[in-house]
Structure formats: structure tokens, C-alpha cells
Chain length 329, copies 6
């Protein structure tokens, strides 16, 4: 039975793409084993197929599937960090339960799904779904790690108070997170904000809550080392949640998203920024707002999303002490 | 100012496509005047851009826009009924207010938007949106017309009790409508049902409520005259609501829908069935479940949807006593 | 862990789509359990992601994935046969091993993968892949069942001798099958042939081998009962392999295929023809030549393919003696 | 040099698709030789890449390319007429010269390009381009053959007088053709008309000019033999021009066209109607209004267009006395 | 009536996207009021849906619709210029009248449509349409403002003399504009030229007319401040027309255009260049050559076009003396 | 006969796009004459429509067609090198013969097709096809030029030993080329490598063979002059083969490829790198791995591919001593 190694048989890591074609098999993230998390797991991959909280384009409920599909292109060794993800105990545990049409109940169920995973010590890497789903991750991680630092890559701050009278939407997540004391805005940073605003005071929504904001225009002029230093100074030794909204990058690199904003960084730039987070205390992460119906046939948004999750997995591996060649050499 | 005739200036009917290209101008349904309904209006076109209640593919929030866009291809004279829609006082009153993510509140707001329109005596023709939105129309019409007959073209009965614990979804609309006494199932008929079921008892969900069901297989073997007689016998002189779910037709004719079912009738067949409703007491109608992100570049689903609304408008005109050439000749 | 029920836990049949949204979870065919086949399995679903033998458009290596993806729309109860597929012991065993670029070696490996499945008595239902892959199924089934009858739905006979000097291609499969004595052409029928030919003698390629041929033009004029009688007379009590090339239907219903031919039957017609095979001794079946890159965003070809496999599964269930309501009532 | 046989080397007919893959080579229609017409040519294939006269969607300037591209799927033997197109002296002479933006000048240049081709006695088969281009063909053929009969497959009559003040558009072609005495409307028939009209009198535009009109609704109820008789009675022994607007068929079969109309016949039906023209005196033909940017990735409209030209080529071959097996047997 | 505020009711600025979802309502540019221009209007948005003058891909007649559609994503406050566009008296006056197929007559009608708008003192912002339409704007503005400066963002100079014998095409606009003395080439600059040429002398076509040319290669090496200085020096206090051909940016950022050229700047770069024009005397502007049929489902070209118009509107607002926070702070 | 100039009539260079629209005519590369190579040819353009050796997405068999199609946008004068390609004796000789499904036999036939072309002294420019096809070119050129230098633009080194047991795939080409002594790795360089690896030792596969490797991350930090120097030092006066795998650029610029890798250079950057090769002794080149089914409607990958071939043609012209204006001025 080629592609669906159960975790019971001792198999670790993804199927070997030089023995079995990468396009073959039931699609799990990066061809990882599916199902129960191994007892010593360092990473748990899961999807949250939910898009009810989207204010413009919907469809990110199909994001986890699209990311899994194209993720079979990814190979396990990371040449920059020099870490072998095939050596990381991990599984794709499937999708968390959701209730389409009900934001609040979905958050509750996702949190309940996450808690036993988090309890194992594994780092959860969540594939969204719209940005409302991050709240469930933050709640589940808060219980174990305490208040988290947030590094949010996004073209929007998502710190509005409500939308159309609704308090739980993909644009209000981080105000709720601060109100619920899940994250410490003073040890957090939002990166890549840009684009038109509803009104002038929106520019200060995040900073008034205590977040540091690094707008896209400023980011584009900053070198990666300076970025690394600035984030490290902000986050320090706090447990960290990285939330990567795919609309952080320019629409030319990620057309398939709910509320695209012209003028963002390239994909190459984004990957470098993620790599600059090596060494921080990653507790969990997500990649959200991929809406596959808006991707072209080349599926570049889904491929970028899968690559982002692969980068996050490398960060988790580094943090978990998986030996790297860099350590050795 | 070519394309946006205000209704104040006495203009009636759509812009003339032989004077001004049909592709030009801000897109209203069939290039009708936009805005306030004329006092003597017979028809009110409106959109309900809502898709929170969808159980599979979302995106029908963009249905009204797509239908308006392609509807500029439609010309005002109906050659079968021989009725000139340019002579029908009507307007495209825009979209009803919705709250993305909140099915119940949306239904409330849509109903409130519809009530004054219905009070004028105009027939509302609603462009969806997912099938949950029909409930608002039925509520608004019930107040004026009493209990309605329903002719529902659909591959699904939409009479489940709940989905994932939610009672208001696009698959439970007509059970709710019966429970709220909005429609009389014994004077109603569901046409075109087909496809796989969750369990055997699903086959009787609608008939147990009192609906007559004409499954797709039976429909495909029925000639149009027999269909006409069967529906007329069922509906009689009751005020009628026609609900046309675009998944009634085969996916080859309507790929862009939330829950497509293989094995339906063609578009040509569907139009004939609609024409067979001439003479019934149309109180209102809708065309729902068009999800444009799943249409190909040829936009055939949106075009079919626009043509369905055009057929419904002709039915409304006939009912309203607009003179037809057929009457004269 | 919602979507990936292991077969060890006693779970039978697909995930309940009214409890967990159908779009959620790792995609197996119809949300069946993935992995090892249960000991009492009646049906084994598998993919063969292979397209090296295609003479025109390639890409059917992604056919199994696309069919699995959209198959989550399918519910387990079949309302025409009145059989509950949730009661059929079955699994999606993943994809057979293939060697891209090597037709002969792939056939060998697929056969080896199939043999233990066939040995359990389960009916294999194969999702292609190009039409060359059928040879492996026929070889594996021949060993257990003896010479098979073939009912082939296809716009081409696939009985050429070679292509560009190659003997194993998707256009030569059934000549090879006759030469290898896998099937009995005199108890077999090819249905739906049409379109342009290379030369006049191509018209007799299949009949010269002994096949009965029912061309598309003739089929379109035949009622379903006559079709049922004709096939039943041909096949009798032989063990049967049904091979459904998606190009059997018209390109309007199945655009995403390697060598489309204008002028075929509709999807609704095709489903009726499949249902007419109830009662024959189904030993195995496949649905091939779905090339997803050529599908539009509505994915109608993949949906048709999934529905065909669902119909085939119902035929297998009927044959396996799964009780139907029809039996009872 | 595989794919571009020059006509000088005695090569006749298309490249053999069983020796060289059909997808290979520079794309000419059906892989025919490109360039100068052989002295004894029976058929000349040419494109007219022009769309300035389109009233809605443009883009049919890319129609000839799309039809040539997919036409490589076509094989030379016609199994219904039993005629081998490889035995028909023919060439793809490329595209006629056009002037984008100038309808009148284009018609002049296309006519000049056609005249020497027509003078050789070859039947020109034109791939459009919008429907305005037919006027050039009719003018060129009128000079040689006298007044022509027209069989027009179309959802529109194209007999309006003007559009936006312009007299030469794709909607006015056949009124101009009658005014210029190019065709005899009393020996001509328009088949497939349907859809909404600007005003009531539009219904009589064609019949007032003398055309017989067979609307789509009537056509759908007519069997092919009756159609054959009706057309034969109308056309008789007149030299015939067949003009096939791809919007004749339903949008599900031909989404990629300028002004689609819901409710047309299927592709299978259309091919049968074309075959029913066998025996009429074909002088020329065209297939127009294919606008490839509106086709899905499956390119079904282009494939239908190519198949229509192939059917027209078979009609030309039959008329030219190319021996058929049917004659022999 | 939510989305179509008439201008009579005192409403100013776009619908509030936090009260009513941005995707709802009849699509006007940025949800501005549609119809008559307010007496004190600073900006008039209009479309010119015309593509007859295109030399390669057509379809920009659907450009205004696509830009309006996606423009609902735009919010009114501009965070860089700190100006609130909701405070700018403005309307979307619909589309100018055009005559498909007739370049000269269209220019005449568009000019006539523009003249009363220009007479009010409003800055017209035109959504194209192909680049031929700029001539009408320049003619209408010349009458009020005298000879204009031009800042043209474009990969082509559009200063050829003729195409296929036609003098009015999208490639000859600015030669005509100089000949008609509408613009002063010595106070004008063309930015972004690149790509292959017909012949060597084409490189000097614009400079020979007196334009300054800043080719793409040079631009890519220039910082924004240097660009600002160079343009300011060239334009000075002249009334300015900004013409933004969407093919200025790289095809990865704007695939949906008529004659794409590889090797252009990114969208982020383009927005910065537009912002650098703040303070110049903007008299009018356009954004042209968006051909939506060539956009992917993500619609990134249309979104860029809408964002460009939003940037141009901000420039108009700044020039009109709308107070900015920057002024205050 | 406008578009298919035979080479016999003395015509040289492409059709004039200002006399005949560029979209018209049978599609050859850049509208060059098709067929026999002129005796004094400097450049031979050919396609190799082959994709059997692809490890992930297939479909590059349609690459040559797609590149030819969009190449009609290219004009003959190169403004950077100041060379007129219309003055370069050249032809599009069509596609080399291939055997779908057979990598080894295809390489043999392509080599045989190339050898007489190479013997004329013309520089072959090959449009792929997957990267396995380069081996045939190297073999054909080796015979005439001796061991070649290679400059390979690619995100992968393609120096694996085998895939699924197959030794001839698109991922093993350059290991085979070294083993066959076709190229000198010590005078060769691979540029742009990046992305995930199967295992750590993959990072050294190319360098162990002797290649210099310039990874994407390093390249992105290098200015073009430094690149030029580095390549020139490596290659020197050796005869050079340039192999451009379209996945060298970022997926945002080239989505339509078999194994895309996030994080590559832009198209603008890539063109500059190609221009930096001016002066090297170009013996042959190819542009491979364009898989058109994965392009969006804007066809940006195909356009980039065509532009790359145009750049390569300019390099060939420079090398062949075609006079440039730069020489004169």
C-alpha cells in the first residue's frame, strides 16, 4: 500500500519521491503519514477548512486541500537551514471539525481538536481557512504556553472591532486575541500592512492596541538582517505564534486570496523573512486565506502556501533540536 | 449620461442595445433603470449576495453581479410569449442588505428590504445567493399573499432538518418554510431531484412533508405538455413562488454551482418548463446557487441564470396583464 | 481525528456528510477509509496515476486525485438501485505504484499491486490514468476469474496495433488484451465509438477481432431497455470487466480528456446505461482518461468520473449481495 | 522536415498521425500542407482573423488559430460518408489579409484574396472571424457561381439593418447579401434562430426579406430526415453556401462565442444536420464566431469548430466526386 | 435601497464597507454614487468601453466593467497621502458612448461626452478601453486647459504613424496628439518603454517628436526620488494628463492586456511612481488596455487597474485642495 | 498567400507586423518562414514536443505550439543589442520527430533530425519539451563542436542519477551529458538552483560532477556585471550551449511549468542575465519545460519563453557577425 503509511509501522517522514512519483497517492501534507500523531511528534499538520468569516471572496475552506495537493512537490531536506524534515516525527492529522456558517462554534471545536495535540508538545502548523481560525489556535496554545508573542505577516492588521455588527470575522481576530489576553501585543509585530483604509483612524488600530507595525513600504526598504534584529528584539524568548496571511505577498505571487492588496513583497522576499525567524521559540503557526478557486491553473498561491508551511516546519524542527548539518559542520 | 437612467425621468425599460452597445454602462439587470422602484412597478429585480449557508462550494455572494453582467446580452422582446419587457414598469433595486456569516440576521434584513417592495404589488425576482435566501422571500410574500404554492426546480429537495447542528442552511430551507406555514406543500411540487442520498429515508423527506416530487429521471421522460398539466393541477389558482436552483440543470449546462449533480436536464429543456408556467399566479421568484468562480470564461451558468430571470420576468409580465401580441393576433 | 478513519477501528463506510462537512478532510474516494483493505471487503478503490501512453493530451496522472477530490460530494445511498454503499465493506487503498515514462514496467507493477487485492475477492475499481492501464487490471483478474467479458464505453475502440512503433499505448490496449487471451471478444461489446478515422480499415479493427461494436450514432437511437438486452445477451454469465473511458460522453459533459470526440451521449444518458448493467457478474471496472488540467473550474469531468465510479460501486454491491431496499419491498 | 510538407513535393493530404504524433508540428488545419493551392485542388482552407464587427464579445480574430490547433485531432477518414479526405487535393492557404478596425476594407481584401482561389474551382472553407466576413466569401463566389443559396446555422438571423449607425457589422451581413443580390433568399434557409429580440418586428426581419426560417424550438422537434427534405426542397440544385455560426449550438457545447444564446441544439445534433446536406451543390462554406478566450481549457468550442470544418470538407469531397466506399459497396 | 445612492440625496463618497459588505450592490467605481455629476464635483469617473483600435488582443471593451467590479475592494482613505477620498465630491458617470468598429466616430462621441464634464472643473478619470481613447480626453481637456503635459506610463511609445494603413489605432495616439497640438512633447515624458521593435528607427519615434523617454531598463535602476525630480522638471506647472497603460508593468503583474511586454516594473514600484506625481497640476488621467478575458480568476490586472485609478483620484484630490491629515499634522 | 512565405522566394525574416496584423497567419516562431533551412542560415528554430520524461506535471509537448503562438508578438529589432533579426537568415523548421512514451528512441530521432541542421553551421534554438530533450541537442552539437560549455538557467541541477529506476528523465540529463563527455562541467555553470531537496547530499550532486553552481539566493544578490564576469571566466572561448529551463524564474512569472519552485528571479532579471552572455561562442540553445495547460489565459509563461528564444536568437546573431548599429555608431 504505497502512499498511506500508517504511523504504527514505524514509518517516519514523507514517502520517498525518487522511489514513488510525487504526484501519486492520497494527498497528505508533503506525503507525511496521515492519522494519529506519533507519541514523540514534534510537528502536527492540520487543516481548518473554514471561510464563513470572510468579508469579500470566500472559498478558503478548500485551502487545506489545495495546499496538501501541491505540497507533494516539496522534498524533505531544507538546504538553507540544512535540516532534514524526514527526521522530524510528524503527521498530517487531517482537518479539524468545523461548522460552516458558525464562526463561534467552529472556533470552539477547533480549539477542542487542538488541545490534545498541543498537550503532546508538538508544534501545530495550521493550514487555513480564513484568518478567523487563528483565534482557536491562540486559545489552545495559551493554555499551555501562556501569553504568546505574535509575528503576523499580513497586508491587513485584522484589528477592527466588528464588521456589519459581527465581532468574530477574519478582520477582527487580533483585537479579540488581545482582549482575551492570548497574545502580548507589546512583544508582537505585524508586518506588511498596506493598502486603502476605511478611515484615517484605521491606521492606528493596531498600534493603539500595543502592536508594533512594520508597513509594507518600510519593509520593502529594509534588509533581511535588520528585519531579523527588529523582530528578535520584539519577541525575545517569548513563545511565538507566526501567522502568515497569504495576502502578505503581492497579488502577482498570491492571486488566490480573499482580500488581495496590490504592492506587497515577492515570494522570494517572504521566504527570506521566514528564514530570519530561526531561533525564536516557535509554539505554533498558521498559513491562511488561500482561496483556491481564485488561483490560476499554475496554482502558484497554493504552492507558495505549501512552501510557507514547509518553512514553518523547518523552524519548528530547528527549535525542537533536530540536528542540522550546520550544527555539525 | 448614457447607461444609468434614473427612474425619475420617465424612462421605462432597458437601454436600447441597437443604439448603445450592450456591453457598455454600469451593469444593472438587463440594463434596467437602477434605484427606486416606480410607483406602478410590476417587477422588482434584486440581488441577495449571500452564501454563508452553503454546505459545499461557496461564492454565490457574487451571483447577482455575474447575472447582472451577462444579462446585458438579453433583449426585451420575448418571442415565445410575444411580450415586450420594455413595456413592463420595473427597476433593478440593487442588492438587499446581508450580513456575511450570519444566516438568521441576513434573513431578517432581506425580509425587511423586501416588504415595502412587495407592498407595492410588484413581483420580486431575486437573484441569489444560496438557497437559504428563499426563506426571506417567502416570509415577505406570505404577509401579503397568504400561504404560497411552490414550484421548485432543483436537484435537491432542501428539506433536511439540519446540517452540522445548524437549522438554517441552504439544505433545510423548505422544511423551515413548511414549519413556518409559509407554503402549502400540498399545492407545491419539487422538480428535478436526483443524485446520491445520505441515507434511504432522505428519499421521503419531501413527500413526508406533503410535497409532490417529480424526480429528474421521471421528468426526462415527460413531455412538456404533461408537465404543464401536472403543475397546473397541483398549483391551481394559488399565489405562486417559483424557486429555480441552477443545479436543476445538468453540470454541463451549469458548472458554476455549489452542489452540482450529474444527470439533469439541458438548458433548452429548462426554459421550456419555465414557459409552461404561463398563466399561473406568480407572486415572486428567485434564481439561486450561481457561484461564478466555478464558471468557465464562457460564463454559461451566469448566462443561463440571467435567461431564467428573463423568463421569470416574462411570466410576471403575462400575469400582470401586459398586452402581448399573442393577445392581439 | 475526523477524516482518516483507520480500518482497524471497525469503522465502515464513508464519513457522515451531515455531521462533518463534505469538503473537510484528507481526500479519499467518497471519504472512505484509507489504507489496508478489510478482510471482508467487497470493493477496493485504487488509482493508477499514469499517462505516459497518451497519444495527444497528457495529464491523466492527476485523474485519481481529481476524482477523489470531487467525490466527497457523493453520498452513500443510491436511490435508483436502493442500495446503501455505507454498508459495503470497502477501502480506498491509494494509488498503485507506477513508473512515469515506462508503460511496460508500470503495467507489471500495477498488476502486482492488484493481485493480492483481487485474491481477497474484492472487486477492484480503478481510477485512471490513461487507457493503457486497463491491461494490468485484466491481467490480474484473468488469473482469478478466467477469460473476461468486456463492456467498454469509449469513443474509440483502442484496438490499433501500434502507434509510432510502440505496441503498448492507450490506443492498443484491447488488441493486446485479445492477443493475451485476457478477454473474450465474442462475449464483449464496445459502445459509443465515433469520430474520424485514420483510414477506412480502422472501422473494422474491433469487429475483425471479434468484438461487437455499438457506435454512438446507433446508441443515440436506442432505448435503454434495448441496450440492456443487447449487452446482457452478449455478456451472459461471464465475469465482466467494465471499462469506462470518459471520452465516451460528449466533450460538453467531459471536456477534460486526452482525445475528445464531438457527438457523444450526455452524462444523464451514460448513467442510465451503467445502471442497465445491474445483475451482470462484475469482476472489476475502471474509469479512465480524465485529465484534470483540461477541466474548467466547475470540474464537471472529474465529477462525472466520480459519479461513474459510484455507479460502478453500486453494481459491485448489488452483485455482492448487499441487501437493497428493492429486495425487501 | 516532418510537419510542413510543401505542396511541391507531391505530398497530398494530412500528415499520418500514426507515424508522427498529432500534436507535433506547425499547426495547419488538420495537418494539411500549407501554402500554395495545388492546381487540382478541390478544397482551400483559409482563415479570416477578424472581429471588428462584433457587437458584444470580441476575440474571434484568434478563431482560425484555435481551430487549426485542435484540428490536429482530426483524422482523414469520414466513417459516415465513407470518404477519405486524405485523397482530396487540398491545402491550408493561411489567413486572408485583414485590417483590424476597418470592416469595409477588410471585406475588400478578403474578397481579393478569395477570387483566385475560387477561380481554380476549389471550394473555399473559411474559418472566422466574426460573421461579417461571410460577405466577402459571398461576393467572391457570386462572380463565379451566380446567385447562391444559403443554409445558415445560427441563433440569430443577422438581418438587422444597422447597429449604432454602422451598416457593416456581424448582425447585418445577410441583409447586405440580399441587397447586393449575392444570395437568393427564396432558395435559402436560416436554421436555429432563438432568443430574446430587441423588438417584436425583429421576428420578421428575415422572412420579410424572403428567407425561410426554421427556429430552434421547431428544429428540436424535427427529425433529421424531415430536416434533410425541407432543406433539399428549398435549395434544390442551386450553388450553395453553408454558413455555420458556432452560436447555433447551445452554450454548453460552444461557450466561446460572441453572442451566446441559451437553448440550442447539441453538438451531436448539429453534426447530423450537416451530414444531411450531402448531395447539395456546395460552392463554399464557413464556420464563424469562435472566440477562443472564452473557451475553457478543454477547448470544446474550437474542437466543435474544427469538426464542423471537417464535416464541410467531407461535403465538398462528396460533391467533387471523390470516390467513397459507399459508392463501391 | 442600499447600493445605488442617487447624487440628489446629498450622499457623498462611497458606501461604507464596514456597514454593507463590499461585494454587495450594483458595481460602480469604488461604490461611488452613479449618475449625474454633483455641481461641485472634483472628480468624474467614467469608462470608455472600446477596443476596435487594438492591434493584437482585443477585449478591453470589458475593461471598465472589470475595474468597477474589483474596485469595491478599495477603501476611501489613502494612508500615504493621508487624504480621505470619501470627502471628495465625485461620481461614477457611467460609460461614454462608443461605436464599436469605428475609431473616429467613437473619439468624436467620447469627446462630446467629456466636454460638459470638463467644463464643470472636475478632473476626468477614464477607465479604458484601448489606448486610442486617450485622444478624445486630450481633445476635450485641450479646449479648457490649453496644451497639456503628458506623463505616459507604457511599455510602448504609441507614436507610430499608422498600422495597416490606418492612422487612428492604439499605437498611433500620441503622434496624432502632437500633430493636433494637444500636448507639448517638450514638457512630456514617456516612462517604461521596452521590448522588441519593428525596426531600428522605431527607437527614435518618440524622441524625434520631442518627447523625453525613460526606458524600462533605466527606470528600474532609478530611485523614486530621482524619478520624481526628473518628471517634475519636465512637467513644471503645466496642466498634466497622466496616461497609464497597464502594460507598463510586467506581465506577471498585469497579464490581461493587449500587447504585453516582458521585463517591466512590479506593481509596488508602479504605485510608488504614481505617488511621486503628487503636487503636479493634474487635469485628467486614464488607465487603459485592461482586457479582462486574459486575466486569471484572481483578477490581478483589474485590481491593479482599480488601484491605479484610486491613486489617480488621490492625486486629483490633493490637487483640488482636499485637506489631508498631512497638512494638519 | 500572406503568412507562409516559402524560403524559395527569397523572403528573409519575419512577416512585417505593420503591414499584416501579427495575430494573422499560420503560427511559426516569430512569423519566420517555415520549412527548409536556407543554405546560409545562421539560426534554425525547431520544436521538440516531448514530455514523457517529466516527473511531475506533464504537458510540455504543447510547449512549442504555445511559444510559436505568442511569439507573433515579437518584433525583429533588438533595442539593447541593436541587432535586426530580420536580417538573420533563419527558418522555423518545424518539430523534430518524437515518440511519445519512449525517451531513448525520441532522443535518437531528435539527434538525427538535428545533425543535418547543425552541419549547415546554423545555431539550433530548440523549444521544448521537457528537459530530457537537451541531451539530443548536446549529442548533435558535440559531433561538430567538440565538448561544450553549458550555461544552465534552472531551479534544479538535473544531475540526479535516476528516478524510479529510470536513467533517462528530465532530472538526470546533465549527469548523462557529463558521462557521455558531451559537456565540460569545469567550463560550465548552473544558475538559479533552489528549493527543497530529497536529501542533503543532493546539494553536492552538481558540484561533485565538476559544475560551478550559482544558487538563486546568491544570484539575487549579485549584480549583472558580476554575473557576466563570472560566467565569462568559466566559459571562456568554448563553444557554448545555453539551456534555459523556464522554472528558473519565479512561479509568479512562469506558472506553467512542470516542477515550479518558489523564490526565483523575475523575468526582467532573467532577460538581463541572458543579455550578459553576448560575446560568448553560442553553438546552440534551448528553452524548455513550458507546460501550457498550466498557464493562465494571459499566457505569460509562453510569452516569456518566446522572449527567451528571441534573446537567444539575438545572441546567435551577434555571434554570427550580423552587423549591429552598435558596431557602427
Amino acid at each position: 500500500m504505497v502512499p498511506m503509511q500508517s504511523t504504527e509501522n514505524g514509518f517516519r517522514g514523507p514517502v520517498d519521491g525518487q522511489q514513488t512519483p510525487r504526484f501519486a497517492g492520497i494527498k497528505t501534507f508533503m506525503r507525511l503519514p496521515a492519522g494519529e500523531l506519533p507519541a514523540d511528534a514534534r510537528v502536527a499538520i492540520l487543516g481548518v477548512p473554514f471561510d464563513t468569516a470572510s468579508s469579500y471572496r470566500t472559498g478558503s475552506r478548500f485551502g487545506p486541500e489545495a495546499v496538501r495537493s501541491i505540497s507533494s512537490l516539496l522534498r524533505p531536506f531544507h538546504p538553507v537551514h540544512r535540516v532534514d524534515l524526514a527526521a522530524v516525527p510528524a503527521a498530517d492529522v487531517g482537518d479539524a471539525p468545523v461548522v460552516p456558517g458558525n464562526v463561534v462554534e467552529t472556533a470552539r471545536r477547533v480549539q477542542a481538536f487542538l488541545e490534545p495535540l498541543v498537550a503532546t508538545g508538538a508544534v501545530p502548523l495550521v493550514i487555513g481557512g480564513d484568518h478567523s481560525i487563528t483565534l482557536a489556535s491562540l486559545r489552545a496554545l495559551r493554555a499551555r504556553h501562556g501569553r504568546l508573542s505574535l509575528v503576523q505577516f499580513d497586508s491587513h492588521g485584522d484589528t477592527w472591532d466588528e464588521y456589519f455588527g459581527e465581532r468574530y470575522t477574519h478582520g477582527t481576530t487580533f483585537r479579540r486575541a488581545v482582549e482575551e489576553d492570548l497574545i502580548d501585543p507589546r512583544a508582537s509585530i505585524q508586518v506588511g500592512l498596506r493598502g486603502s483604509l476605511y478611515q484615517e483612524r484605521d491606521a492606528a488600530l493596531s498600534t493603539d492596541l500595543g502592536f508594533e507595525v512594520l508597513p509594507a513600504r518600510e519593509l520593502l526598504a529594509l534588509d533581511v538582517e535588520a528585519f531579523r534584529a527588529r523582530v528578535a528584539a520584539r519577541v525575545g524568548e517569548n513563545p511565538l505564534f507566526v501567522s502568515f496571511d497569504i495576502d502578505f505577498v503581492d497579488p502577482s505571487c498570491a492571486p488566490a486570496t480573499g482580500t488581495p492588496e496590490v504592492g506587497g513583497p515577492t515570494s522570494a522576499h517572504a521566504l527570506e523573512l521566514l528564514r530570519a525567524l530561526a531561533g525564536l521559540r516557535l509554539a505554533g503557526a498558521d498559513c491562511v486565506e488561500i482561496s483556491p478557486a481564485y488561483d490560476g491553473p499554475g496554482q502558484i498561491t497554493a504552492l507558495l502556501g505549501a512552501t510557507v508551511v514547509w518553512e514553518l516546519m523547518a523552524l519548528a524542527a530547528l527549535r525542537a533540536g533536530v540536528p542540522t548539518t550546520a550544527d555539525v559542520s
